[in-house]
């Protein structure tokens, strides 16, 4: 590998990291505006706008993330006296690094570089799925050791809760991904995207998709599974003792992990950068402007399709956060171990049976699988829903005496 190749690689990695942090910055704005809408408020709309003729303002609030960043930069940087200094300082880095490196194995689109490679897929390794799982599972260290190193009971409780929760939901997450892997017959992420050219995996793997959504929300400790930082119980959870940019790094890692999880869901279940018509359009461009422009057009269009799908899933995340109240700890463990894990196993069994009985790529069995998944999910929701006991207050209980 000569130095030019290394330089190109470094620049690409830098671009990816900056893109991920920019996505994070604008996701916070997206979420705050949407949450405000869900709660019948206006949300941040002052910092920065494009004035239009007639006194109208376009993109109100688009500088809000920059304002937040500047504010956090100039906050006082405090290290608690009784904290374990080195571990305390290391923890935010431990949180951010997995959130950033997880992106290299996700194919963000299809921009052929002419040598059989893909500009939008950084690391086409043959165990891409396992890499994603590995990086997800080491993501908990940042939270766990931050909670321990702060030397604060609330932080500690947050850290302990985080490790228990992430270990529990990792199983359901991995098994729901296993269904997709069996469906596509490959562990390569780009292979899974290519296998969805005909039909997106959300149809045959509907049950897996639902399990993945729930488990990934729990895995990134986001509402309604955010017991790790339950404000009412733990002040701020694992990040209570962190301020300034160290807090911002935790915040950032949490959101980048969430977007990455949505991107993984798009890759596994929604066809990645596939969208009907993209191939034909880029072929038309290639015919009139040449291969390079055609490849660029294909790359940009597939990246656009990927980002639109990710944004839709992110909207769903915000919607869930605005709608569902936080679960109790026993409910969390029950959902993970008693409901999601058996369901994911059932999904693997169904996928295996259908994969053996029916030929690869047959449409009707795949739709049948989706319908079965839907029925199972609905049945589980009805049967496993918490029983609502009718609450009544008995003031005087009269007993018959004889």
């Amino acid at each position: 590998m000569d130095w030019i190749a290394i330089l190109i690689l470094l620049v690409r990695c830098l671009v990816l990291a900056l893109a991920a942090t920019t996505l994070f910055a604008y996701f916070t704005l997206f979420e705050r505006r949407l949450l405000a809408r869900f709660q019948n408020r206006v949300g941040p709309n002052r910092a920065g706008y494009i004035p239009l003729p007639g006194g109208k303002k376009l993109f109100g609030g688009f500088l809000q993330p920059a304002a937040d960043a500047v504010k956090l930069f100039f906050k006082e940087d405090v290290i608690p006296t009784l904290a374990d200094r080195w571990v305390y300082l290391m923890a935010p880095g431990f949180a951010v690094v997995p959130a950033l490196i997880i992106w290299v194995a996700i194919p963000l689109g299809n921009w052929p570089d002419g040598n059989g490679g893909n500009w939008l897929h950084y690391a086409p390794i043959d165990v891409g799925i396992l890499y994603l799982l590995a990086v997800t599972s080491i993501g908990v260290y940042g939270i766990a050791i931050a909670g321990w190193a702060s030397n604060n009971k609330y932080s500690m409780l947050g850290g302990i809760r985080a490790s228990a929760q992430v270990i529990s939901y990792e199983l359901a997450l991995g098994l729901s991904i296993l269904g997709v892997v069996m469906q596509s017959g490959t562990l390569r992420t780009e292979g899974i995207v290519n296998a969805q050219a005909g039909m997106w995996n959300i149809v045959p793997q509907f049950m897996g998709f639902i399990i993945f959504l729930i488990a990934s929300t729990a895995e990134v400790v986001r509402s309604p599974f955010d017991l790790v930082e339950a404000e009412q119980e733990l002040v701020g959870g694992y990040n209570t003792e962190y301020g300034s940019m160290k807090f911002a790094l935790f915040f950032m890692s949490e959101y980048i992990k969430l977007i990455a999880m949505n991107a993984i869901a798009v890759t596994l279940f929604l066809g990645g950068g596939n969208l009907p018509g993209i191939e034909q359009a880029s072929a038309a461009v290639t015919a009139s402007f040449g291969v390079t422009v055609g490849n660029a057009a294909l790359g940009l269009m597939s990246l656009g399709a990927f980002l639109i799908k990710t944004t839709l899933l992110s909207f769903l995340s915000v919607w869930i956060r605005a709608t569902v109240p936080r679960v109790r700890y026993d409910q969390l463990m029950n959902l993970g171990w008693v409901i999601l894990l058996p369901l994911a196993l059932l999904n693997v069994v169904i996928t295996a049976v259908f994969g053996v009985v029916f030929p690869v790529g047959a449409v009707v069995p795949q739709i049948a699988m989706g319908v079965i998944g839907l029925i199972v999910i609905v049945l589980t929701t009805v049967l496993a829903a918490p029983k609502r006991t009718k609450r009544g207050v008995t003031l005087v209980r009269s007993q018959a005496r004889n």
């Binding site: 396992l130 590995a134 599972s137 909670g147 302990i160 490790s163």
Partner: protein, 167 residues
């Protein structure tokens, strides 16, 4: 390039292992062990075995050390006890065994270096791929694989039994 990465990773792995043994704090030990496991995962990558890299990270870094940390944090047992080691014969036996192991490694290196290391270096590109490992695991080594799963099942049942006895 590969040699440079190998030397750096090997040094990191050794530092992690030694620091794990020396450190007086259980959480620090666990983190140094994590460093060591991470370095070993990179060594697997250098051996062209990405599957082993991913499994090393998922199983050891992602599950086992998290469990260590969880238990240590839950029990608050990170401080080292000051009193002397209760098992007196442990240290000399451990040192003897370590010396034996190092001697064995050196012997293998000196006697077999021409033969075995060359064979590892010339392994085919398919070495350690998921398909190959699955093939070996579910045909040649099926019995040990199933036995291992039974051992794990026994541990699982043990946990359930202990829990039932408590409550």
């Amino acid at each position: 390039m590969e040699l440079v990465i190998f030397v750096i990773t090997a040094i990191v792995a050794i530092i992690g292992a030694v620091a794990m043994l020396v450190s007086r704090n259980a959480v620090h030990s666990a983190l140094f062990l994590l460093l060591n496991f991470g370095a070993i995962a990179v060594l697997y990558l250098l051996l062209q075995a990405p599957f082993l890299f991913a499994v090393q990270l998922i199983v050891y870094a992602g599950a086992i050390i998290v469990l260590f940390l969880f238990v240590v944090m839950l029990l608050g047992a990170e401080r080292d006890e000051e009193d002397a080691n209760p098992i007196r014969w442990q240290a000399p036996v451990a040192i003897t065994m370590a010396v034996l192991l190092v001697g064995e490694i050196i012997w293998v290196l000196v006697r077999q270096s021409q033969d075995s290391l060359a064979r590892v270096g010339s392994s085919d590109s398919d070495f350690g791929s998921p398909a190959q490992i699955a093939q070996a695991l579910f045909t040649t080594h099926l019995l040990p694989f199933e036995v291992a799963s039974f051992v794990l099942l026994t541990a699982l049942i043990g946990v359930v039994v202990l829990h039932q006895r408590q409550s």
